[in-house]
């Protein structure tokens, strides 16, 4: 197998993520790239604009670690649990530092990324009209529909400096198969200037070529490929491991104070070298509980004469 763009997360972050960058760690609940987030924290990146519809725990951690200057988001909650306390502490009290926000609805932010991925001038959408958000966000404008004369809400394209996208399987050049909740993974990869892929499995190119409609990200938009099993824990990877819902609930407790949060980060992020060490700290029993039984897709034929 060719080694292609294969590298370590340490190398990939060191090479492609710079202080002050606008970054998008993709994922809608599914396949949130925790391993990349932790490595960015270990490399002490500062003044980042963190973008994602659902910041999730990983951005809460990065805010607590002081990496964040601005949060671009549409739902800053702990999905299924409640608040993101580090986000609120930064916004309401400036701990560890004040952060700015750039806020949208889900449709608005996923629309910005889609418009960025497809390089549109702007994207008209049926939302925001009547809401109090547009007066707070100068990126939300209106345009007159030349066919009906109606005022239509529009958003500008989003083109982050870096996207990190976790995938189930890819080849060593980054041709990636993704399934389950595919969220904004494809759009993030096409919108960003630099793309880091982390993958549960690196497979032969022939596996990818056996099902080209499953390839949401083609290699030539990818800059680095990291083989990083369990990269998403406590988030999940469909067919590989489930979401660690217990941890999502514990996070609410862990983050009650900034000190307790930092204690967690010292142990689980700064106290380990990489994802492998992180996983070694988790009890096998807990890991076993997250392993699903296989549930295989019915294959299809791509044959031609």
């Amino acid at each position: 197998m060719s080694t292609g763009k294969l590298t370590t997360m340490k190398e990939a972050v060191s090479k492609y993520v710079k202080d002050g960058d606008e970054i998008y760690l993709a994922g809608f609940t599914h396949m949130i790239p925790f391993a990349a987030g932790h490595e960015i924290m270990r490399q002490k990146r500062k003044n980042l604009t963190l973008c994602r519809a659902t910041p999730d725990i990983i951005y809460d951690q990065m805010i607590a670690a002081g990496c964040c200057k601005k949060l671009m988001f549409s739902y800053a909650g702990n999905p299924g649990v409640g608040s993101l306390r580090c986000f609120r502490r930064a916004l309401e009290k400036g701990v560890p530092n004040k952060i700015e926000i750039d806020e949208y609805s889900h449709f608005g932010l996923s629309g910005r990324l889609f418009a960025g991925a497809t390089n549109m001038h702007f994207l008209p959408m049926r939302t925001n009209i009547g809401s109090d958000l547009p007066p707070q966000n100068p990126n939300l404008k209106t345009v007159k529909d030349p066919y009906t004369g109606d005022e239509v809400s529009v958003v500008p394209p989003l083109k982050p400096d870096v996207a990190v996208v976790h995938v189930q399987r890819c080849d060593s050049n980054g041709n990636s198969h993704i399934w389950g909740i595919i969220g904004e993974q494809k759009d993030a990869a096409f919108a960003a200037r630099k793309v880091i892929i982390s993958a549960e499995e690196i497979v032969e190119e022939s596996v990818i070529r056996s099902d080209p409609n499953r390839t949401l990200i083609p290699d030539f938009v990818v800059h680095a490929v990291v083989h990083e099993p369990w990269a998403c824990h406590p988030s999940y990877v469909q067919g590989y491991y489930d979401r660690d819902n217990e941890f999502y609930m514990q996070w609410d407790e862990i983050t009650k104070e900034h000190d307790s949060t930092m204690k967690y980060l010292d142990e689980w992020v700064f106290g380990v070298e990489n994802r492998q060490q992180y996983m070694k700290k988790i009890q096998q029993e807990k890991i076993n509980k997250l392993l699903p039984k296989p549930c295989m897709s019915a294959p299809v034929s791509y044959g031609s004469v």
């Binding site: 519809a53 549409s74 739902y75 999905p79 889900h106 449709f107 990324l113 909740i181 979401r243 819902n245």
Partner: protein
Amino acid sequence: MSECTPSELMVAVAARELKDHDTVLVGVGIPNLAANLAKKLQAPNLVMVYESGAVGSNPTRMPLSIGDPCLVTGAKSVCSMYEQFAYYLQGGRIDVGFLGGAQIDKYGNINSTVIGSYKTPKVRLPGSGGACDIASNVKKIIVITPHEKRRFVEKVDFLTSPGFVDGKEKWKLLKLQGGGPYAVITNLCTMKFDDVTGEMMVASLHPGVTIEKVWENTPWKVNVAAKLEQTPPPTEREISALRALDPSKTYLG
């Protein structure tokens, strides 16, 4: 009437609003239970669509978030996030959307963004998520909420998701494709909206509840429909089907 908790009552009443073949945008928790209850009873062909892109999910356990993997295993279809909002919601293909929030006002406007001012928040809430998009595009918005004075306000601190905004006349000028707020279901009553003004009004009192009790728990003297109804109490069948959906009482406690 079966003995039931306030949550059970709200879910049972909300489920009745769903018709067979309706497409419903479902959130986790209470709305998920209402949709699943309707599917078990009068709406076997209910189409459940999730913000996460899953359509026609067939979960074998209670999903813990709208992005739960059990909503994908055995679903009919899954698409990307932009596609879900664009093809389904903006596409005008969703009949009913369930919303909740920290505050709701007399025009059905919902605040899930901030208590206090946007620039200097007293309490920063999670924000819209898909709520503003849902409110703007579904044919019927249904709100399920406990009837508490801090939740019902004359004017929301921040309008996250449009109800009838400043009233139905002005709302029409905005030309949203959605039908606007349809019902607010609390533990005390079901409220609907005046066809002309777009103002909230009590349409049906739940078993054992008086209009005075509603007024006591609402900060303004909410209007009453011309024909005030009595909510039929949940049946044994409704309650037992409902409890089977949440045996561990995660949401029905």
